[in-house]
């Protein structure tokens, strides 16, 4: 991790009519960082994430993602990022290899490149022998691994993980975080939301949104110190219930 910002957000506002969903957000996310983006339901996380992914335009503010402007260059932003959520990641009725190739195609990789890197990925995940199996027949632990690998298949600078571990068993959940660390060590920036507060402690830095604003942003240790809390759950409850 270094201090080169790959996401810069200055005075971000997003309004829907009279409702202010994002109320003057300011933060940076650094290259290779694992950045936790927390908040209660309805605090404005999804709105902000959509803007950072190039899916929605801000009302005002200066926002740059992977070096691209969030007003003009949304298509370039989309190509520079990966996205995965527990709710939606892989196509269940497609096979393992079809899913990989489909994502490669969507992100505009060349056919040769897709072929070579598909082979490599299948080998790395030890899925070569069952590459023609349907996703729905794959155990959840493997599915998770594949979903994450597919999200970073086109070698994006940043990957957005939206509650990637919801409903996953405790062992698979921990294995998944090992993958996240590996990717971060390879220089990919991780932007992650979660409702598991122990996972918040695995992040380099964590921001907590309350009512459209960023109420706190620091390392987990720093937050626990500031809020005189034993763990991140206490920090979260103190902030979000205040």
């Amino acid at each position: 991790m270094n201090n080169k910002a790959v996401i810069t957000v200055k005075n971000l506002y997003k309004r829907f009519g009279n409702f202010v969903a994002n109320d003057n957000l300011n933060f940076e996310v650094y290259e290779g960082e694992i950045f936790g983006f927390l908040g209660a339901n309805g605090a404005g996380k999804t709105t902000a994430m959509k803007i950072l992914c190039g899916l929605s335009k801000p009302s005002s503010g200066e926002i740059s993602v992977a070096g691209f402007d969030a007003y003009k260059d949304t298509e370039k932003i989309k190509k520079s990022i990966g996205y995965m959520s527990q709710k939606f990641s892989l196509y269940e009725d497609l096979t393992i290899v079809e899913n990989i190739m489909f994502y490669g195609g969507i992100y505009g990789m060349s056919i040769d490149d897709i072929k070579i890197r598909t082979e490599q990925l299948l080998q790395k995940l030890e899925l070569t022998e069952i590459k023609d199996n349907l996703i729905k027949d794959l155990p959840i632990g493997w599915r998770q691994k594949l979903a994450f690998s597919v999200a970073i298949f086109h070698q994006p600078k940043i990957v957005f993980l939206d509650e990637p571990t919801g409903g996953v068993d405790p062992i698979t959940r921990r294995q998944f975080w090992n993958l996240i660390y590996e990717a971060a060590q390879d220089g990919i920036t991780i932007f992650v939301t979660t409702h598991y507060m122990d996972e918040a402690e695995y992040c380099n830095r964590v921001s907590i949104m309350v009512d459209g604003k960023i109420a706190a942003l620091d390392t987990p240790e720093g937050l626990m110190k500031t809020y005189d809390a034993m763990n991140m759950e206490e920090v979260f409850l103190k902030l979000a219930r205040a």
Binding site: N41, G166, G167, P170, P220
Partner: protein, 308 residues
Amino acid sequence: MNNLSVTVNNISKSYPNALALDNVSFDVKKSELFGIIGPDGGGKTSLFRILTTLLLPDSGTATLEGLDCVKDYKKIRNLIGYMPGRFSLYQDLSVEENLKFFATIFGTTIEENYDLIKDIYQQIEPFKTRPAGKLSGGMKQKLALSCAMIHKPEVLILDEPTTGVDAVSRKEFWEMLKRLNLAGITILVSTPYMDEAILCDRVALIQGGKILSTDTPQNIVNTFGKILFSVKTNNIHKLMNDLNEWSNTGSAYLFGQQIHLTLSNESLNEKDIIDYLTQKESSDIKVEKIKAGIEDTFMSLMTKQHHE
């Protein structure tokens, strides 16, 4: 038998590609708050669909308030309140219309049982003319619970009511459940969040269609049976790697900024762990014995089941 609200006897259910429930048995006592704890794909939803008479088991029997879940399905449907995992209210009806609809179906009125849902419904009543589809996640959940309660059911069956819900709203939801439970309603609730187990009177841990254990949360963690250490250094990634390489490590799992460690050789103690980590050039080493929680126990049972 009289104090039992729900009985599940050797229930199995399979789908073309998967065994969803594998010989599952447990009982829920009257007025108990009973939790089914386990990850997605564990079989929780299939189990609840059988108990709510929406799905037939391949084998085994289940009863609810003494009624058979297959034969007596019509009677059972009047006795239960069911909140499915997916939001199942009418999105284009308003909050109040949804509630009225459910009351009417069960031959009652909002006024008749208003006391029962008052605490919960009051929180969304200011928005009663809003279409249900336009509510926030927390409000949808409160409306769904109100609709499940409006006919004063004997048994409330809630399938993952807190999935995808933030830590604060989860806490509030459990406080609501506790109040309903104290009013005498039997509650059967499923969740993938291990930390919610301690809020139940008794729980069944479920994984891969099998029940790993059924008991009070305290008795379940008492079966952990190994000495558990919490280990911390200034570099958690290095610590994890060092512990995974150590021949004396039984299991090592991340818990926030600590690692929970068991040793394969239980004659070793804190000092041996510190010595090993010092030799690995770690600093700020902190090791202490701790009590196992539900998540520790669940993972231990999962690996045991795996090796059997």
